[in-house]
């Protein structure tokens, strides 16, 4: 975050390891600095929850699209122009009054980049990864969402290839909103399944 070149903060050991590896790979002609910049730019500007929100809003307003999304999420998401690394094998899981879905990657940090961008820090944390499988109701309550006892919670563990997106329940009272207004209501956390709308 600090770009103050007049008063640089001390570089950490891990930062120096990245610098060294980057310099080595560029020096060997294996990596192109412009390509590194382009990828960082992609994550900072092109992907993020705003993409997933468009998918969700479309599904809420277009029953045919929703059907396609639930049958072949990768293809339906691609219809809106989203795809690429970590989004090649998408599955969308739909919340209903009876079932609430929540997503985790128990082993590392797998996450659907094209529709959600990069995962938040808590998603990658050991407590979330270990506990949400074991006691999802408790973890969700700690995060501010108390799931009613009569609602089943399903936890989806991202595997080697599969990436999940939760389709939240459309909020009551949103009937008069158009697609773009609906998309503005959809939060990242609701698409991971740790919050409701």
């Amino acid at each position: 975050m600090s770009e103050d070149h007049h008063h640089p903060i001390p570089r950490t050991a891990v930062e120096e390891r990245v610098d060294a590896l980057e310099a080595l790979l560029i020096d060997k002609g294996i990596l192109d600095p412009a390509a590194i910049d382009a990828i960082v730019e992609y994550f900072e500007h092109d992907v993020g929850p705003m993409n997933g929100a468009k998918v969700v809003a479309r599904a809420w307003t277009d029953a045919d699209y929703k059907s396609r999304l639930l049958v072949n999420a990768t293809a339906a998401i691609a219809e809106l122009g989203f795809g690429g690394p970590e989004g090649e094998h998408m599955i969308v899981v739909e919340n209903t009054p009876e079932v609430h879905n929540v997503v985790v990657c128990t082993l590392c940090s797998c996450y659907p980049w094209p529709v959600l961008g990069l995962p938040p820090n808590w998603y990658k944390s050991a407590p979330y990864r270990s506990r949400v499988v074991r006691e999802p109701r408790v973890v969700l309550a700690e995060m501010g969402y108390v799931v009613p006892d009569n609602v089943e919670i399903r936890v989806w563990d991202s595997s080697a290839e599969i990436r999940y997106l939760v389709l939240p329940i459309r909020p009551d009272g949103s009937e008069h909103l158009d697609v773009s207004e609906l998309a503005a209501l959809v939060t990242r956390d609701s698409m991971i399944g740790v919050a409701r709308l």
Binding site: L31, I39, E86, L118, P120, V138, E142
Partner: protein, 85 residues
């Protein structure tokens, strides 16, 4: 609420942050580390899952280590495997 807090108190693990901010990278080196990993995977015509195995191992080796430190450890191992000096 109180019974939830009581259950949580019985667990040794810290509470999960509740921020809903759209954080991307905490520091620029994290973005560069991710970009290097993606480009190395692409360049060697492999799947991300190959790198993922290194990442899982690095996290498993030191579960309490900060995520991005584990990521860089995985990246070092992955790069060394690809380009032995």
């Amino acid at each position: 609420m109180s019974h939830t807090a009581a259950v949580a108190d019985g667990l040794a693990e810290p509470l999960i942050p509740r921020s809903n901010g759209a954080l991307v990278f905490d520091a620029p080196w994290q973005g560069r580390a991710l970009a290097i990993a993606i480009l190395l995977v692409e360049r060697t015509d492999q799947q991300w899952d190959v790198f993922r195995r290194y990442l899982i191992q690095a996290i498993d080796d030191e579960p309490e280590r900060p995520y991005w430190d584990s990521f860089v450890t995985a990246l070092d191992s992955f790069a060394a495997e690809l380009e032995p000096d």
